[in-house]
Symmetry: D2
Subunit: 436 residues, 4 copies
């Protein structure tokens, strides 16, 4: 976890206080279920909840001090709770193993992290939608291979991003469901010393589903899927960030990350306004993707469990979710305030002297009876002049001055082919598909 | 693609013949839709389908020869089709771009690959279920950290694998849906020169959904999710393979990959029967996981597309699906014929001299009124003797001979605590959850 | 292996014929050493070499047919050799295990692959040096964050690439040395049944060093290091490819991948000349990097070996080396023929109206006695006008017309600060460092 | 960075105080060089060093507070220094850019980290050597595929680990040299405003070499190679950790991680002594390997630099080095105190009833004139009985009782073939190779 790439709400999920709080709730809910089953006295559950109702501060240092002796984090925690709750606490944890607590706690943490990330995506989607509608018909050049291709609109670019993050939202929902399970099944998952109804009760209270069959742990294919999904989302972040970085290039400059009035780009070079936020997002995406590999390697635990996954999760649990949360927030900010320059878009669109319309003229000539070979030759000989002039000449003007062309097409017909709006006839249809 | 790790049906999906066949179908369906819209003559579509009905052999060499000249695979293909179909073929591909064909074709291939993989998982699930039921109550030691923990059953191990691959099946269904889209939207996705109804028609014919908004290509977050899902499945394969490898270790030998009667393990060492299939699966899992990273890096294409994803997909499209298909098939074979040794499982279970039951005796002494401290001391002093004898002594016998123990518990009560069946009371519940 | 991304010489290294040829040489050299030690008759070695001198064709199909029965590739090969050589062949392989042959063969293959890759890098270095010298003083704008920064030369860009690939050459030499070892040490590496002098002899004959201590196999940290090094080289390929892609963007167009005269960029759009080769290289780099992860996972084999590494190496041995070889060759071709447009570079350099010189004017004003605050304000008020004019105005002209500026600096002094050559005073020093 | 997997010395390298201290030294050395060149007054350098000689405490909070305003970390730092040093500090940083400071600082940090890691490896090597010599002739079974193969010694296993970590030491030395460079070359690496002799001076003072040609930054192929090397070392850690985990399995139990006298494995299960340290190392290795991928992706920065690498390095700089340092230390501790059980090794070695010697008997029969077919049959019929008895029968005893065998070999000759020492004749040779 790197503080400068962290936000408070997500970081709080991974604090020791939050973890111990979840542990307590798992234990208390389980004790309640055990009381319902007559295994422990009702007073045991009551005592736990009564103490919890006082909103006691969790003394992490005290628990750590006990762990330094017991070398066991769950036992240390239970001891500290017992010191506070008193005699009745001895019924806690009956028939359970540490992993029941640890794994169910991790599920709760990942669910909470998912909920923050889903909210992050919702915020991003709202911004993307607003900006897409704002620029629904802002013409801009579409580029394949970094080379001008045909016109599109800036709104369509944003609609594409919206659709992509909508898919990511669905994937994250699925990933959330995948890790939202509870296991309280004992040392090797047989429920030998604990009734499955305890598990069902705790699961229901925590908003989790029951793990159908666990070993000592919740199986790690669930977590692998979760972190892989975060990696895909990171890829989408990088894609949109890369788009902004390209648009802000000096020679392109169709959009820019927001600069506040009076802000200095550089003390020495007044022209420097760098897309540092989206470059930063590119790097953060690399990190979130990098966590996918160890998560995938965590699946193949030995037999009913080995503990190799644990250290990995101490890193990637916080690091992947905190980084992605920060990145989504930063991307939302970038897109929200993005400075968009329609005039520059138009200028770039025009910089090829109308070459982007050559295909339509070609087609029109053919439909007017010129053979395809001749039509191609006629367009090309004019297009090449425009190309060589680096867009200083105008294809439209050259064509209108070419007698062979005007023999087949009237000036009006030629001009009609240079209609930018022609390219946008289906924008509405696409927006319907995306935002309806 | 490594031939020895390939199966025919999956490999066929990626053959040039299959690819060109899909291209033809996309073009012919599109031409049909264009005819419906009155853009091209009905006869054009009819001519294409009439030729296709003759089941023409696709001459890959001829197409390659044309590509060597045109440097463009789709144009080469169209030229070859035109050479065969004749004049009417010139209406093909109207308003489309190469990516419309290439990307939709890739979707079809990945869908077909998914269907084979789903069938592979189904076959594996069937085997796992059969073997799980067969060994529902076969006792075996559960191990955490590779160390004996508490008893479980071999059927439960297999039920866990069944549940895991059921989850993988669901994930693969979702991944299949993610890449099952069709885009026929023109150079930069604006439908400037082609009606969206063409896309809808082709999609319906090919069993795909319509891509809501494409650029020049179908967005690659879809493919990233697909390959990431294959990586998770590979993780599960490695997990089960690792279990078999452990069980076959000389000192454990609770199960073995099948050896045919008369088969030789080694010409020199008659005792060598190696788990080579599951070791091989471990390596194959590494490969399938390794393809996840380039797939994730493919997402961030520049602007409306760059072509960097294409070379990656020429590798991982076939390699990931063919390898996973082979691996699933191999794993199914291993599990189907796995030699299971219940007697050895029981022997291993007993090798600790009954120590696995120490926890229950401790509890019983406490319930009989012995203080927890005394109870622990009583059990421990006997358990340590068993431990130090490497399981040659019996905890049960020692306890029955310990006057302090028998003062609290009758011999019958002590013996009752060594009941293996106690651990299996919830097996039925778990099987209900998994197989119901 | 994808045929279109493969070259013949590298592919040949991985052919069955090449592999079997290396196996034979290992066996024959070992037999010779055994004869030297008096363990087998001299005639055995002589018979093997006599047959080999006839340059026999290796009948892969026949060997495969035997393997289909024996299920063991090395035994199948030995059988086939014996069928050809006759009785004397029975002394082959004495005291050896299959891995002695397989692993030493892999070393030979990787050494040969390294030699091709080293030659590839040499060819690339030669091209980069030539082009760097050609453009040693071709001015171009240096960009940080994609934004114009300060002037540099195109030669310096290429010198940087040269230095980077020189480092990669050194790394590859080290990686080659790492995997250039020979192990002929028996079943678990103890030399129980074979004299270490056999290993020494074979190693010397094959140009390998002796593995100091092997298990059944050569340890896989060596191979991990090898493939990791290929991954780093792939990163450098992507970097240079990305530079070309950027330079070819429509708005930048300072350089282009070569297009042959008469070549068509697109049948419909005559302005399309896409950097498809460097985009392709970007994808290939992803693949080579993707093979690093499974190679790293191959290190932790169980005990004296498990065979999980084998399947991984059947993929990445050929795939990583063939792909990298192809990529290096393609990159060399791109750089060799790269179309460089100095005029466009100058035009881009000038497009900011001379803002790139603002820092020097600021410094000169300070040195002329203007306070830093005032100097900054003076430069800024002129620079901002240039900035807002999108480079239509000239900073030099504005400054010369600013009375407050000319009060401190003469026109000659101001003009002197707009000297592009000032930025290139150390180019020679840097070239000395890189190419000396 | 996870506190529980961190050690103080390595963590200190990455503290803000350490970073600012290195920044200061870079700036002061550069100022000194500028004074030598007459660019700035000698008094400027003197003032800086005079202040530094007072060992001032670095006020991180104050610097952060300035950064909150300037949004620029290097400027904030320079401002704070100037506040402390006074007027003379204004000559600092002349002609330099932030990256000159940042990148050279990172080099210093990675060099320091390398030195700690090299010391870690030295400590590990010392322990491995001591334990290898201690167990040079401790017999143990060699295993391929997890199955008993032939005898080896425990010392040989450790010698193999020693050789592997010796290689890793060499690799780390090379990686250290790769990142030990200094760049003070200005905005785009042209030295336009700073003399290369400044760079040379600072490099010499900091023990770095000069970067031959930089852009705005030190090229990231160097760092990629560095982190890739850490990934390889992590693979070796996992390998040795996996060996210990296997040896500690209940059924094997040939070695164990140290347990202090009186330590409890589990409150409930006295037999539980889990290899948790080596399992933990397995997970940590996954993390260090996981950082390789983002490091490789960092190479392809745009043009003269983009800043995407920076966020990645803020994570993996500390995380990879701190984790590896901790892991090496933990592994050294595990190997230092590893409980080794020679008796159990012998017991396991014998558990196959002497089958490990079958190959030698076979060979001896052949040399005594029995045909290979008959010899194989004779050995096999006895070996199979032993195999089926699960090692309860003795191959030696059966052979001695087999009249067909004793017809060819005397009892003494047979017994001679069961000589374990035979396998260890070359141990000394191997140790010479490894430790000489």
């Amino acid at each position: 976890m790197v503080p400068r790439y962290s936000r408070a709400a997500m970081t709080a999920i991974w604090s020791p206080e939050a973890r111990f709080g979840i542990w307590f709730e798992i234990e208390a809910h389980a004790t309640e279920a055990l009381a319902d089953l007559g295994v422990v006295p009702r007073s045991a559950a009551d005592a736990l909840w009564a103490w919890w109702a006082t909103k006691p501060e969790i003394d992490v240092a005290a628990i750590d001090a006990i762990e330094a002796v017991t070398k066991h984090d769950v036992i240390a925690f239970l001891t500290w709770v017992a010191d506070n709750v008193g005699e009745e606490a001895r019924y806690m944890h009956q028939g359970m193993t540490s992993s029941d607590v640890l794994d169910t706690c991790l599920s709760v943490q990942l669910v909470r992290a998912s909920d923050l990330l889903l909210a992050d995506i919702d915020a991003l989607l709202a911004v993307l939608k607003r900006r897409a509608l704002e620029h629904k018909y802002t013409p801009t050049i579409g580029r394949s291979h970094g080379i001008h291709a045909e016109p599109t609109t800036f709104g369509l670019k944003l609609a594409e991003a919206y659709a992509e993050f909508s898919r990511n939202r669905d994937r994250l929902e699925a990933a959330r469901a995948d890790i939202a399970t509870c296991a309280i099944s004992g040392a090797v998952g047989t429920f030998a010393n604990i009734d499955p109804r305890v598990e069902a009760h705790v699961a229901a209270k925590l908003g989790l589903s029951v793990e159908p069959v666990s070993t000592q742990v919740i199986p790690r294919d669930r977590h692998a899927m979760f972190f892989a999904t975060l990696g895909v989302i990171a890829g989408s972040i990088e894609r949109l960030a890369t788009e902004v970085r390209h648009l802000q290039r000096t020679e392109v400059l169709e959009a820019e990350e927001y600069f506040s009035p009076g802000q200095k780009g550089s003390s020495a070079m007044p022209h420097k306004r760098n897309p540092v936020l989206t470059e930063n997002l590119t790097g953060l995406a690399r990190m979130v993707r990098g966590y996918v590999t160890p998560a995938l390697e965590n699946v193949a635990l030995w037999h009913e469990r080995d503990i190799s996954h644990s250290s990995v999760e101490r890193y990637i649990g916080p690091d992947a979710t905190i980084t992605l949360d920060f990145a989504l927030g930063r991307l939302t900010g970038v897109m929200d305030k993005l400075l968009v320059y329609p005039a520059r878009m138009q200028k770039n669109l025009d910089r090829m002297g109308g070459l982007v319309h050559s295909q339509r003229v070609l087609l029109a000539l053919t439909q007017a009876g010129v053979s395809r070979e001749d039509a191609y030759r006629l367009v090309q000989r004019n297009a090449m002049q425009v190309w060589e002039s680096d867009g200083q000449l105008s294809l439209l003007e050259l064509l209108k001055a070419d007698a062979d062309v005007t023999a087949a097409l009237s000036v009006e017909e030629i001009e009609d082919k240079f209609d930018l709006a022609y390219h946008f006839s289906q924008v509405d249809t696409i927006f319907e598909r995306v935002f309806a």
